[in-house]
Symmetry: C3
Subunit: 465 residues, 3 copies
Amino acid sequence: MLHPHRYFDPDPATRKIALDLYTRVETLPLVCPHGHVDPKLLATNEPFPDPSTLLIVPDHYVTRMLYSQGIRLEQLGIPSLDGTPVETAPRRIWQLFADHFHLYRGTPTGAWLKHEFEGVFGITETLGSANAMAVYDQIEACLRRPEFLPRAMYERFNIAVLCTTDAAGDSLEWHKAMRDEGWGNVKPTFRPDIAVTLSHPSWKAEIDRIGALTGESMTTYASFIKGLEARRAFFKQMGATATDHAVVVPYTERIDDAAAEALYAKALAGTATMADSTQFGAHMLMELARMSVEDGLVMQLHPGSFRNHNTRVFERFGADRGCDIPLATEYTRNLHALLNAYGNEPGFTLVLFTLDETAYSRELAPLAGHYPAVVLGPPWWFHDSIEGMLRFRHMATETAGFYNTAGFNDDTRAFPSIPARHDVARRVDATFLAQLVTRHVIDEADAHAVIVDLSQSLVKKVYRL
Amino acid sequence: MLHPHRYFDPDPATRKIALDLYTRVETLPLVCPHGHVDPKLLATNEPFPDPSTLLIVPDHYVTRMLYSQGIRLEQLGIPSLDGTPVETAPRRIWQLFADHFHLYRGTPTGAWLKHEFEGVFGITETLGSANAMAVYDQIEACLRRPEFLPRAMYERFNIAVLCTTDAAGDSLEWHKAMRDEGWGNVKPTFRPDIAVTLSHPSWKAEIDRIGALTGESMTTYASFIKGLEARRAFFKQMGATATDHAVVVPYTERIDDAAAEALYAKALAGTATMADSTQFGAHMLMELARMSVEDGLVMQLHPGSFRNHNTRVFERFGADRGCDIPLATEYTRNLHALLNAYGNEPGFTLVLFTLDETAYSRELAPLAGHYPAVVLGPPWWFHDSIEGMLRFRHMATETAGFYNTAGFNDDTRAFPSIPARHDVARRVDATFLAQLVTRHVIDEADAHAVIVDLSQSLVKKVYRL
Amino acid sequence: MLHPHRYFDPDPATRKIALDLYTRVETLPLVCPHGHVDPKLLATNEPFPDPSTLLIVPDHYVTRMLYSQGIRLEQLGIPSLDGTPVETAPRRIWQLFADHFHLYRGTPTGAWLKHEFEGVFGITETLGSANAMAVYDQIEACLRRPEFLPRAMYERFNIAVLCTTDAAGDSLEWHKAMRDEGWGNVKPTFRPDIAVTLSHPSWKAEIDRIGALTGESMTTYASFIKGLEARRAFFKQMGATATDHAVVVPYTERIDDAAAEALYAKALAGTATMADSTQFGAHMLMELARMSVEDGLVMQLHPGSFRNHNTRVFERFGADRGCDIPLATEYTRNLHALLNAYGNEPGFTLVLFTLDETAYSRELAPLAGHYPAVVLGPPWWFHDSIEGMLRFRHMATETAGFYNTAGFNDDTRAFPSIPARHDVARRVDATFLAQLVTRHVIDEADAHAVIVDLSQSLVKKVYRL
């Protein structure tokens, strides 16, 4: 099922070189600087409940495709927020999934699932209606064994470090527990999106959490800034090396402290408008960059997702259900203020991501190929795929080079898919480099140096891991 | 001239698989759910007049390339609206075309013409200045024979169904004639663009035609809606399974009935502004989707063409003369209202097209990979080409999968080019699938299933044919 | 080091055809219709001072990559405007460059440098820390020999014609000197960007220069127009066949003469706003097109660069230091006025360039495939690369054809890189055409005709050289 030459260029000469390059990095430890694994999973190390709860229900890549073909989320056991009854029998969910497994042909989800089935659970036939229950039984049997506990998997996966993503107001209790216990290498990432978004429905609650955790009053902008700085310091203490920021538009503009104070006060009074929130957000990106310059946390920026585009699904099932749709995203003008203020700072690193592939060659590679601070993150979300990663290398490399890119990250909440995702990335990079070698753009020695850099050295250097 | 392996990947292993896949679907009947063939052609079944009138004069793909190189449309016999004299000798037009045949090197028009020459008319040498008249003679001789009458061609082309595109105010007399006669399988498609565009110069005339055909007064918005609904019902009765809508920007927003009534009244009074027309159009897309939910007609949306960009050509020669230029097109925000209202409806299908290829991976595949209603139409117009179709598959498949796409449609008014266009699509799909097989993304059995789906099953399912 | 098959497709059949095609054009003379070589270089023919001053310091492609990795421009000997001391020892600059040569892996700069090292200076090993000084010595020794004087290189490079880029207020003294002397074929290009940009800090000075050179008062708009026309006539007399225009947004709109006069008067009075400048610029593109229709100078348009994005670098080191970042660029609406006014004129040629690759298939190829005046320039700046040129051919050819494109131009100020750049272009075109041949889109005879057209005939025809 898993062909050893998969994803390589079919030209025999190119394939041979790709295989050589891939072989060099195939078994290197996995460095995971950005993702959404729940730290509780590894802190508590409880067994995964069943195949459907592990592989289908929480994975919006899996469920969105089924939903797009008319299967209701209720049928897939997605918990509803409004009391709508949903399927509770994991086997019925699994059968439905198996009946529609052909939908994943040619998709990265299909590639990852095949890798998980065979690589993690030893299943070697294609899932379908007929063998659905047999496959379910086999995975279920695995999940009862100690070597399929989360920590056993973490170790078997050869994970060198795993960074999670955590709200500014998160207590990091599970990170602390693991550190106290001395197990693993799991680090938090500081993500203050709610705290800096005045229009977010949970803004006040998040501010209050930060206040409670830091002892700051949070009643003034100055105290708010101190609160954020205190949380950053705590995150660093818990091992964090990076922050992460999701915005719709990566607009940056500094306003003076009095203006920021006024917006903050309006938000506290419940009178801030959407325009106020936008202006405050643009200012806070400047402030967060300023903090990164000072404390050395790498700044990640993930712009351009229209979250919860499908209101009906959002209202019944909440966020992260596959209803986020990308937007065209502009970087050159929007980041002008931030890059002029901080882009030349030696100690500052800004990792840029995009859901708009047109920005690769037009804006992102030119920015990364000039500003010392700017580094390109790997293809994100919909573009974290065989074709998507190839397009990224084809469109970014000539202007940004390899050394202004940040290696791979798996960005996943689907824990058992981590090895599959890194494997795809290594194979695609091997393919791209092999194509450069057979076209005599670089020689084989260079390609061998670069494949190690892309798989390991760059991500460690960029994220200071 | 027509190599049996044309358009396949040159890698021998990939080519062999592509050929196997193509062979499986090569002779399947042609399902044509969207196009611009004049139904009168098949209803009257009169012989085509001459090679130039058949192949050059009406085909703006052919004439635009000649025009771009300084040949005047007058020289090509394009009928003028303003009385400017134009070439009337078909042989002189043909010679000019033959003298410039090298301009089509590397273009889909070149590929289609070669296929038509050899596949339809048995011409096996490349057209050029020297053999122009010999080729003309050969085609002309063909056109005098009964097997080159339109209906004979339709049957020889193995067309299973042919959908035309017809204004809301069209009487459908030719469709009715064919149905009454019991010949063929030619269906109309409901295209109410003029009727819903308050600023269109023919708006009032079209409204009046609808009124006359339906008995509606058309003096109120409510009556206008009833008129449209009555026409849809008649189109369905004449076999229609789909509607089609061309807009510059796919902006959707519902206004209340009173507001719609007010805009309609302004238009009747001749005082509607461009902004009124835009707002009414955005509302009517909502209404047309609502009607589709109710009557089951598949809704097609073709946005993003700046029509008649070249005013000088438009004024002398009218529309559809190769002067339409694409625009960047945004879908995520523009379709938000429509998809939130109707995108989750089980019975509703919205087929999206684009002239902006950047939307494939950024907006269209994510929308199709989530909303049950959304399906991606094939590459449209300038992108209905070997490279264009490959790009579409490369950019859309990983996120939308194969099963949220709608197979192929030829979208042509050039009747004899229909087999060539379907053949190119089947070859390109075979190539793409073969590349997935040799890269071990999918296996050969899956590829064989998918090629049949792409050539036949999906288009029939999506368009309910 | 320089493999004879470099950049060709690795498929053996395709590679063989590519090699045949390339061999046919490999040694054709270089036609250079657009670039930034300083005419003084060839007029005075003084020896190049040293390897670093020749190859590193003036080449922002080289220095931007080093800067992006934290090397300061001061360390690279870039002259500062503010008195900041900078490195003065060419050998220290060279060593730093050599230490970081791996950064150019996979970049066009890397490909060009390798070609220059081997093709111009006979260096056959890869540059690195260890051999830095040996390589320096070898180049330095070359530069002392008469066959490495600028004119000797010009002749050895087999340059048929070299067009420079010159401000409207340039005296063209060096062009005149060469013409008087009867040496070479170096032509100026009329670039009035400063003169038509009311907001440019040097606008008044440039206007005054034009006034002084033409005897026009420049105190009225009418006199300003006369001044520009007089300069164009002088440029033509000095051999110019083209003009060039860089704008941020290619917006075009004619205003009446009185309105233009009013804006011009405001600028003279120092009260013109940015909006005034924008409006005047949009009008002047119309006027410059009108002048081209009248005097036959080919009009080149280079839009979409956000110049001097990094203010800190700009203030210390000035323009053209690698801090220009592309912007998304719209052509369909922006050029509507200009193309409607002049796009059908038989004698007019408008060569369009872009930094936004999304425009190739969406806007530029459709415009070029229709308007007689529009021709597509080759991939520009960041996209003048192996991948970039392939993408251009893949995205533009099917709609624009080959014959609405303008061949290659090297657009360089790096004189010794000229042969390398043309060689890459010829190899890429050979690769693209070979791919069409092995896919049976065109036959080999057609490909042989097209490769000559792309390398030579088209550029001479389009630029009237």
